[in-house]
Amino acid sequence: MNPEEKSIVHEITSGLSRRHFLRAGGAAALAALAGSEARLVAGTTKFEPRADSVILLWMAGGMAQTETYDPKRYTPFQPGLESKAVLSTFPSIDTAVDNIKISQGLERIASVMDRGTLIRSHRVGDLGFILHSRHQFHWHTGYPPPQSVAAPHMGAVVSRTLGARNPDIPAFIDIGQNLEIGAESDSVKAFHTAGFLGSEHSPFLISDPADAVSRTRPSENIGRTRFVRRYDEYKKLVAASPVARYGSDFQRESLLRSFENAHRLLNSPAAKAFDLSLEPRKSYDVYNTGRFGLGCLLARRLVEAGARFVEVTTEYIPFRYWDTHENGHTRTVQMKKDVDAPIAQLILDLEQRGLLDRTLIVIASEFGRDMMTEGKPGQEVKQQVQQPTVMTEMKHYGMHRHYTEASCVLLFGGGSPKGKLYGKTADERPVTIVENPVIIDDLHATIYAALGIAPDTFYEVEKRPFYVTKDGKGKVVEALRA
């Protein structure tokens, strides 16, 4: 080392004690050292894991339960029809399970109903006012905002608690949601985060599944050859620093290791899972009902490759997709076309590959819908969505109001019962839950338990416990476990 180099080394290293400033070479053996990670404390009850992965299929915008998985008396449209007379705008159809009927338009899902459990008694939080993103925040984190600490998304909790199944596939992948959606952008961003669990567990966001591969390979503007060369040159440059030649400290090491991981991931064969162009045409076409359908295909490929938690959303954009404020019936016809075939195919594909037993598929939405009640029966919220007393046009026909009392959840695989119906709602308005309500805390407890995570597992943050289900009180619903 020449005198100039010595002085640079001295600058940077004279304050670092020998113990923590390792000679070059020795540093590589250091494990990842993150400074202030929230401490994990396992819950009191042991749950044997029944699932290794979760696929959450999110019906964003509030899926009308009486139009999908909890059909009631069907009344066809005709001008002059009284709104209050209508409970379902679709006839019921049979499913593969004798005592379960669901709505027309979901024939493919009906044919695989014997693989899963239908919950008709999911009751989400009563937040006093309808705000989709706030209910979504509540559902995805288990806590309604605001909160005094930054609450993590369920996928981040799973990522942090169980880690990645395959180091080259991000543990938590979120497919289909654009975060710039106008006025509710910030609210949607607020729960697409690992919160206090730190950026390592953030959702790996893929807004368009058809373009997923671009997130896992070097940018097209740079190209793989240049990308690889750039990294080689970078490593030489860092190695040329007198500091690096002297040794390294754990911060430098963790930075360099993070780059190594990112480059490994971007050059990994596992990244092929993200490339939908590699899927056989026939299979691709079954899934290809649009972005959601391709999202299901991507989810299947990712779980095969070792993803831990994948969310696929129909996407939340105010007044679009499942957020039917008018034209509810017509829109629901389209939404069913978008989701029916891909969901059913996902279940069949995972089953055929022997993965369904260890993959829990959850289909859920932030609340249900109704034509008359806005919010909760007996406690209706202000600012109701318009619905005429008597319908004159087709656009009036459908479930246009938000309903927090009851919604449907479906579970497939991952240790959930097969061909089971759970919970019941009244056959007349207000279609309240009459049997076995399942609140968010208990549903989450059941999902976490399937992964082997006790519902009172917590992270210590600011010396306080932050439980994976609200205040650690989520109760596992044994009836929802096979």
Partner: protein, 758 residues
């Protein structure tokens, strides 16, 4: 046995919700070891060392009287086994207030300890020298001028020194030059405020433009002015807790609210209680907002007492763990010795009382807390840690108390505090690695190695390249520093928080997720791409638009513009903040091109671009068939030899875009040269830092990047390796290839010697 992780959760969930408060059932409170051992009406609940005779165990196992807990599932056998073991091992309760109190009681009153004797000019160094002497350690030698300059430029301006600034400092022969540099940096009000505002935004959870359809209000204009004017800290605190003027920051007390009902512990006034206690006093009231705290000494009624200073009604009903208690609390100061507030005081009077409390000269906790925060910001670790638990013992109480009282004696002058610290030898010591600082038996050895913040990183890119991001100002734009914009994927990955809570430390650990953003993220890729072109002098100046409608929310705007000589037209329809851009209907109506050869309708000219023909009604006026395009799309028309000189017509936003769930806002542009999508509007003013002239050859680029980003020249070895980036070029005397330059710039930005402050 670990109380915090094994026992505390059981007590917290199953015992304390009832057995706490002023009048706990049977007189038994499970809020501390002392109260549990003392017990209640039936005697001691816990007999340390003897679980078999502990009433608690007899109750939870239903061996005596009614089973406990009386509601919910009985405790599991595992939980009971844990409790037994814990009691048998002596019922250790380490966090109990009594244990903490006996060890250390943080004072409230200010205290000015005498300055230790010594020759050091800076008082901090007297304390630190004494501290080192006591431990028989040598006082470390200060870092070099270059290293010092890099540190203070980042710590005051949030940017590295430019090559010229660094050189001028290194060439200064004055023995006073370090103090003079600190003064010079502090005296630039704009640069100082533009840097420190990010730290204050974290602390006061202020995030301009971030809203949740509930109440929230930015305090940025006030905060920026306060920093620029160096408003004394006590005046800042006073304005925050007692906003009376229209320019005062009432957003701080409003808090973060989402439409709808909230849990009792998160009402706006409970948020105000939590935030004022955390920010100004270093007290965590979050636990004590639901129940008496287990981890510190604060009680539920104390949180409500503070909340009653900020709530519309001065009487608040206590709610413990979501259960109303039927008991009411009136305004009550956390330190009652500092005064009381009448029960029936008006909100105005209660706010004023809060201001008096937080700025009372007898309240030494407020200056201690801010002084400690500044110490932590500049040294990487506080005199007290965690910085939000000021009841903890400082590693040097005399130094903390002296700094706090000195700060008060100098008019709560934040720049004075900064100057005191930055000119100390302690601050100028070589950096130490943080891992050892996390050890329980902390020994101060110097500032920690710190990672650059998200804003420091992004602004450094602007500084080195001369290319900055834009924010709108009026109808034009100005180049700005990163804090002024909402967070980007890059800044989020680098640790900029979503400021829904108070953040007093940043999580900026290196993670794979973050590295993916740095290695392959679009935000940085674009910044490097444009920045490189700018550095090379090859970024073509963005063409000036021939027409800019400004944001149009309804109705029509007519235009008649000169397009003489245009070979091509670019007609852009951009979203300008619509609630739902996808349902916004906007278009171009009756557009004609006029020239010596006659007038043509635009809609009839040939183009490859697509548009719809739709009738538009704007402000109830019918415009007939118009050219309707989706937002953020463009129409391109080759004009070639047609010789048009003027273009006229109107832009329209259809009335169907007006409902509040769409709230269309559209901006229309016409360009006669290919627009730069990043630079559609006119840019006013100067960049935050003047740009350096373009680089001429690779060696110049290498030297400039080393000097600016690392504050040093490359070594011979580094120069050789750096040249390899440009090796495909035949001669070094030519302008670098953009791709090579991009890769080199990226590599330097990823360099650990850049990303860490040593």
């Amino acid at each position: 046995m670990d109380f915090a992780t094994q026992i505390h959760p059981i007590l917290a969930a199953r015992c304390v919700p009832c057995h706490s408060g002023d009048k706990p059932p049977a007189g038994l409170a499970f809020t501390s070891r002392a109260t549990a051992v003392k017990g209640g009406a039936s005697g001691p609940a816990i007999a340390p060392g003897d679980s078999a005779h502990s009433l608690m165990i007899l109750k939870v196992t239903k061996q005596k009287g009614a089973v406990m807990p009386p509601v919910g599932a009985p405790l599991s056998s595992e939980q009971i086994a844990l409790l037994k073991q814990w009691i048998d091992e002596g019922a250790v309760w380490p966090d109990s207030p009594s244990a903490a109190a006996s060890a250390w009681q943080a004072p409230i009153a200010p205290r000015q300890p005498p300055l230790p004797p010594g020759s050091q000019a800076n008082p901090i160094d007297r304390f630190v020298a004494a501290y080192f002497a006591e431990r028989k350690l040598e006082m470390p030698q200060p870092v070099s001028d270059a290293m010092f300059a890099r540190r203070v430029y980042f710590d005051v301006w949030g940017l590295p020194p430019t090559a010229a600034q660094l050189e001028s400092f290194l060439n200064d022969k004055s023995p006073q030059k370090r103090a003079r540099l600190v003064d010079a940096l502090l005296s630039d009000r704009t640069m100082y405020a533009q840097n420190w505002i990010s730290w204050w935004n974290d602390l006061l959870r202020n995030d301009t433009g971030v809203t949740y359809q509930g109440e929230r209000k930015s305090i940025t204009p006030w905060l920026l002015a306060a920093l620029e004017q160096n408003t004394p800290y006590d005046q800042m605190v006073s304005a925050l807790v007692n906003p009376v003027k229209s320019t005062d920051p009432d957003g701080f007390l409003i808090g973060v609210n989402w439409r709808g009902t909230v849990n009792a512990s998160q009402t706006p006034y409970m948020q105000a209680a939590q935030n004022t206690a955390q920010v100004f006093l270093g007290i965590n009231l979050k636990c004590a907002s639901c129940h008496d705290s287990f981890v510190n000494r604060y009680k539920l009624r104390e949180s409500y007492g503070m909340a009653a200073l900020f709530s519309p009604e001065s009487r608040l009903e206590l709610v413990r763990c979501d259960v109303k208690q039927g008991k009411f609390v009136t305004p009550h100061l956390l330190y009652p010795d500092l005064g009381s507030v009448p029960e029936d005081a008006s909100l105005v009077d209660r706010h004023a009382a809060a201001a008096r409390f937080f700025t009372d000269p007898r309240n030494g906790r407020v200056p201690r807390t801010i002084v400690n925060r500044y110490w932590q910001k500049l040294f990487g670790r506080g005199l007290v840690e965690p910085v939000d638990d000021m009841d903890s013992r400082p590693w040097n109480a005399d130094l903390l108390d002296w700094l706090a009282s000195d700060f008060t004696a100098h008019g709560n002058d934040l720049k004075y505090l900064l100057r005191t610290i930055l000119t100390s030898q302690a601050y100028q010591s070589p950096a130490v690695v943080s891992k050892e600082q996390a050890d329980k038996n902390f020994v101060f050895a110097g500032p920690l190695v710190r990672r650059l913040s998200a804003e420091e990183f992004a602004d450094s890119v602007g500084l080195i390249t001369g290319e900055w991001r834009l924010r709108p100002e009026g109808n034009n734009a100005v180049r700005c520093r990163d804090w002024e914009l909402k967070s980007s994927p890059l800044s989020l990955a680098l640790g900029r928080p979503i400021r829904d809570q108070v953040f007093t430390t940043r999580d900026n650990h290196a993670t794979t997720f973050q590295a993916l953003e740095l290695v392959n993220g679009q935000t940085l890729e674009k910044a490097i791409h444009r920045g490189t072109l700018r550095m090379l002098g090859e970024l073509p100046p963005a063409p000036v638009n021939a027409f800019d409608s400004g944001p149009v929310t309804h109705g029509a705007v007519s235009f008649d513009i000169n397009i003489a000589g245009a070979k091509r037209l670019w007609i852009l329809t951009q979203d300008a903040g619509s609630y739902d851009p996808t349902r916004t209907i906007a278009g171009w109506s009756d557009v004609e091109l006029v020239g010596p050869k006659g007038t043509r309708k635009l809609a009839e000219l040939e183009t490859l671009s697509k548009f719809d023909r739709q009738a538009i009604t704007a402000d109830k006026h019918h415009y007939g068939e118009s050219m309707v395009v989706p937002l953020n799309s463009k129409l391109v028309y080759p004009l070639e030899e047609l010789g048009f000189t003027r273009m006229r017509g109107r832009v329209v936003v259809d009335d169907r875009s007006r409902p509040s769930d769409i709230a269309g806002s559209v901006r229309f542009f016409v360009f006669t040269a290919e627009p730069d999508p990043e630079r559609l509007v006119k840019i006013d003013g100067q960049p935050p830092v003047p740009a350096a002239p373009p680089v001429k050859d690779p060696d110049q680029a290498i030297h400039r990047l080393y000097l600016t980003l690392l504050s040093r020249e490359p070594t011979d070895n580094e120069l050789r390796v750096s040249r390899e980036f440009f090796a495909s070029q035949s001669a070094t005397a030519h302008k670098p290839e953009p791709a090579a330059m991009e890769d080199f710039l990226w590599s330097m930005l990823m360099h650990p010697d850049f990303q860490y402050l040593y």
